[in-house]
C-alpha cells in the first residue's frame, strides 16, 4: 500500500499544495475533498462478481486512466458510476452526495458526463443539433417545447465545436462524419452539459495517429477545468495523458500510481504478460 501511494505522491504535489505534508496512507485527506469517491463497490451478475469490492477516489482536475485486461470490469465501473447498472453494494459519493441508486439522468444533472465505447451520436441530426441536444436547458417535456435557440445556446455550441475541432462542420449531418470526428462530437456533447467529471470509454478507439495526438492534447486541456476518468487500451496514449493510473483485474483493484510505476509493478506485468 505504502509504496503505491508514494509512487503517485509527486503527482499530487503538483496539483495540491498540501500534498508533501500528508501522511502516506489512503486516509490522508478527508473523503469530501475528493470529487468522486467509490467505496467497496460490488456488483454481481448471477453470483459472478464483475466488480468486486472496488475503491477509488478522484480529485477535481485529475485525469485518471483506468486500464486492465479484457473483462477487468472497466466499462462496468463506468456503468455503475453513471447509474446504467445498479450496484449490489458499496457507495459512490460525488461532490459529497451519495449518487448510488439515482437514475441516469439525475446523475448527469448532478455533473457526471459519460461517453460510450462506440461513438453514440444522433445520425439524423446535424453536428449543431447534436451539440445543442446536450445543452442543459429545456430538458423536461414542456421545457423542450418552449426551448429557444438563444444567442447564449449558439455561443456555447460554437465554443464546444471549436474545442472539439468541428467548428467548420456545424451544419453537416452527423452521419457524414469520420469515425474520429464522431468520437470528438460525443466528447463535445459532454462538454456542453458542463459536467465536473467526464468519463470516457476508449475515446481514441479507431482514430488515426494524428487524431490521437489531437485527442491527447484535448484531454490534457480539459483536465485543467474538469476531472476525467478515461478507459483506454492504448498504453502510449495513456502515458501521454494520465496523471494517475488505476489497474483493474477481474473486477478487483490491482494497482494504482503513475504510469511508470504501474508498468513496473510485478502484479501488473503478471496480468498483462503472464498469460
Amino acid at each position: 500500500m505504502t509504496t503505491i501511494v508514494d509512487a503517485y505522491a509527486p503527482v499530487s504535489a503538483a496539483s495540491s499544495v498540501a500534498a508533501p505534508a500528508e501522511p502516506p496512507d489512503k486516509a490522508r485527506r478527508p473523503m469530501q475533498d475528493y470529487l468522486l469517491s467509490v467505496e467497496g463497490l460490488t456488483v454481481s451478475f448471477d453470483g459472478f462478481k464483475v466488480v468486486d469490492d472496488l475503491s477509488l477516489a478522484v480529485e477535481p482536475n485529475e485525469l485518471r486512466a483506468v486500464i486492465g485486461p479484457n473483462g477487468a470490469g472497466k466499462t462496468t465501473l463506468l456503468d455503475l458510476i453513471s447509474g446504467r447498472t445498479r450496484a449490489t453494494s458499496g457507495s459512490i459519493m460525488f461532490k459529497g452526495r451519495e449518487i448510488r441508486g439515482l437514475r441516469e439522468h439525475e446523475i448527469v444533472r448532478a455533473g457526471i458526463g459519460r461517453k460510450f465505447q462506440t461513438p453514440s451520436i444522433y445520425e439524423s441530426l446535424t453536428v449543431f443539433e447534436n451539440l445543442e441536444m446536450s445543452y442543459p436547458g429545456g430538458r423536461s417535456v414542456f421545457g423542450s417545447l418552449a426551448f429557444r435557440r438563444t444567442p447564449e445556446v449558439i455561443a456555447r455550441v460554437e465554443e464546444a465545436a471549436d474545442t472539439i475541432f468541428l467548428a467548420d462542420l456545424l451544419n453537416r449531418p452527423a452521419d457524414g462524419l469520420s469515425h474520429g470526428q464522431k468520437q470528438w462530437l460525443e466528447i463535445g456533447m459532454l462538454l456542453i452539459q458542463n459536467p465536473d467529471l467526464l468519463m470516457l470509454d476508449e475515446p481514441v478507439a479507431g482514430m488515426t495517429p494524428s487524431e490521437r495526438d489531437s485527442t491527447a492534447e484535448l484531454l490534457n486541456r480539459l483536465s485543467a477545468t474538469h476531472a476525467l476518468i478515461v478507459i483506454e487500451h492504448d498504453m502510449e496514449f495513456v502515458k501521454n495523458i494520465a496523471h494517475r493510473v488505476t489497474v483493474l483485474h477481474q473486477g478487483k483493484w490491482l494497482a494504482e500510481g503513475s504510469m511508470d510505476f504501474v508498468q513496473n509493478d510485478p502484479k501488473v506485468i503478471e496480468v498483462y504478460l503472464g498469460h
Binding site: S82, R103, H105, Y122, L125, G138, S144, A146
Partner: protein, 394 residues
C-alpha cells in the same frame, strides 16, 4: 416575420407547398368532384388520417411503434357516440321500451337504469372533453407503466396490441353497457341538429378537414421545437439521450399521449360522419391498418400520413367494389410493395423521384414559355394562398 411563422407551422416553403396541395385537394377538388355519398366516404377516410398523424409523431419520429391506436380511436368514437345515443334515446321516441329514456340496446339487455358512467354523457361539453380526456388518460397510464419500466420496441408493440384485443373483447362482452358487437347505432342528432342529412354531411366533412389541418399544424409545430429533434435523437440513440440528462420515459409518454389524443379526435369525427361506432374499429385489425396508413404514406411525413390514409382506404373500397374476390390479394400486394419497394412510403417516393420530376417539368415549362430569358432561380415555388382563404361553400 411571415416567413418565420410559415417556417414554424409548415416547415418552410417546401413543406408549405405540400400542405397547400393537400388543402386544395381536400377543400376544393374533392367537394367539387364527388357526390355526397362519396364525399362522406372520403370524410371517413380522413378520420383515420388523425390516427396516422399520431403514428407519424410517435412511430415515425419517436420510434415507438404502437399497434393499439384503434383503442384510442375507438374510445374517442365511443365517447361521442354515447352522447349522441343518449340524445337519440329521449323518453318520447323510446316510449315503446319497457324502460323508456335509456338506449335501446340496454332495454334489450334487461337493463332498467342508465349505468352511472353513462350519466355525464348527457352533457355535450363533458362529452367533447371526454373524447380527448379518456383516451389521453388511458395512454398516460399505459405509457407511464410501460416506459418507466423501460418496456420498449417490439414488447411495447405487442402489449398495445394485447390492449386493443382486450378492449375489443370487453366492449363485446358488456353488451348491456356498450351495445356489444353491434356497437352504438341509430345515432340521430347532435344538440338537435340532424347529422344524417346531406347538408350535415357536407358540414361535417369540412369541420373534419379543418380539424385535420389544425392537427397537421400542431404536429408540425411540435416537430419544429426542440421536442421534434429530441424525438429523432431518441429514435437514433435512446441511451445517449438518457445520458444527456433527459428523462426519456417522460418524452415517450408525452408523444404517446399526443398520438392517442389525435386518434381520439379522428374517432369522434368518424362517429359523427358515419353515424355509428362499433368494436370493429377498436380491435387489432383496425389498429394495424392505421400503422399501414402511416407506412404507405411514409412514416416520417405528416402530409404523407394523410395521403396514405386516403390511398389505402380508397383502394380498399375500390378493390372490394370492382374485384370482390381479389381485393384482399391486391391490398396485400400494396403492403408488400411498401415494405419491399418503397420503405419510406409515398413521401419517400416523392423525395426520390417526384421532386426531381417536378423540377425538370418546371424547367421545361419555363423554357417553353420564354426561350430567350434566363430561368427563374430554383426554389422559387409559387406558394398557394393560405388555407383559410380557401374555405369552400358547398
Amino acid at each position: 416575420m411571415i416567413g418565420a411563422a410559415l417556417e414554424k407551422l409548415f416547415g418552410g416553403k417546401r413543406y408549405a407547398f405540400g400542405v397547400a396541395v393537400l388543402a386544395v385537394l381536400i377543400f376544393l377538388v374533392f367537394p367539387a368532384t364527388f357526390d355526397s355519398f362519396r364525399l362522406n366516404l372520403i370524410g371517413k377516410y380522413l378520420t383515420y388520417a388523425f390516427a396516422a398523424l399520431g403514428l407519424v409523431l410517435c412511430w415515425g419520429q419517436g420510434g415507438i411503434l404502437s399497434l393499439g391506436q384503434g383503442v384510442f380511436f375507438g374510445l374517442g368514437g365511443y365517447c361521442m357516440a354515447m352522447f349522441l345515443k343518449l340524445e337519440a334515446s329521449d323518453p318520447v321516441s323510446t316510449a315503446i321500451q319497457s324502460t323508456p329514456g335509456i338506449p335501446d340496446f340496454m332495454d334489450w339487455n334487461q337493463i332498467t337504469q342508465l349505468p352511472t358512467f353513462w350519466r355525464p354523457f348527457h352533457s355535450l361539453t363533458f362529452s367533447l372533453f371526454a373524447v380527448i380526456a379518456v383516451p389521453c388518460l388511458l395512454a398516460l397510464i399505459i405509457g407511464t407503466a410501460m416506459f418507466k419500466r423501460r418496456v420498449g420496441g417490439v414488447y411495447f408493440a405487442i402489449i398495445t396490441q394485447a390492449i386493443a384485443a382486450i378492449l375489443g373483447i370487453l366492449i363485446i362482452g358488456r353488451q348491456g353497457w356498450t351495445g356489444g358487437v353491434n356497437g352504438i347505432t341509430d345515432l340521430k342528432t347532435l344538440h338537435g341538429w340532424d347529422i344524417r342529412t346531406d347538408h350535415a354531411r357536407y358540414v361535417l366533412y369540412f369541420v373534419n378537414a379543418v380539424l385535420l389541418f389544425a392537427a397537421i399544424g400542431l404536429c408540425r409545430w411540435i416537430l419544429s421545437t426542440k421536442m421534434g429533434r429530441l424525438l429523432l435523437a431518441m429514435r437514433d440513440k435512446e441511451e445517449r439521450v438518457r445520458f444527456s440528462g433527459y428523462d426519456v420515459a417522460n418524452v415517450k409518454v408525452f408523444v404517446f399521449v399526443m398520438a392517442a389524443g389525435l386518434a381520439a379526435v379522428g374517432g369522434a369525427m368518424f362517429t359523427l360522419q358515419v353515424g355509428f361506432m362499433s368494436p370493429s374499429f377498436v380491435g387489432i385489425v383496425p389498429s394495424i391498418e392505421m400503422v399501414v396508413f402511416a407506412a404507405v404514406g411514409g412514416r416520417e411525413s405528416l402530409v404523407g400520413a394523410v395521403y396514405g390514409s386516403l390511398l389505402v382506404n380508397w383502394s380498399k373500397t375500390y378493390f372490394s367494389e370492382k374485384f370482390p374476390q381479389l381485393w384482399l390479394v391486391l391490398m396485400g400486394a400494396l403492403f408488400i410493395g411498401v415494405v419491399k419497394v418503397f420503405p419510406k412510403g409515398l413521401a419517400g417516393l416523392y423525395e426520390s423521384h417526384g421532386r426531381a420530376w417536378l423540377a425538370s417539368a418546371r424547367e421545361r415549362l419555363g423554357r417553353l414559355l420564354s426561350p430567350s430569358r434566363p430561368l427563374p432561380p430554383a426554389g422559387a415555388v409559387t406558394v398557394v394562398p393560405a388555407v383559410s382563404t380557401e374555405r369552400h361553400e358547398p
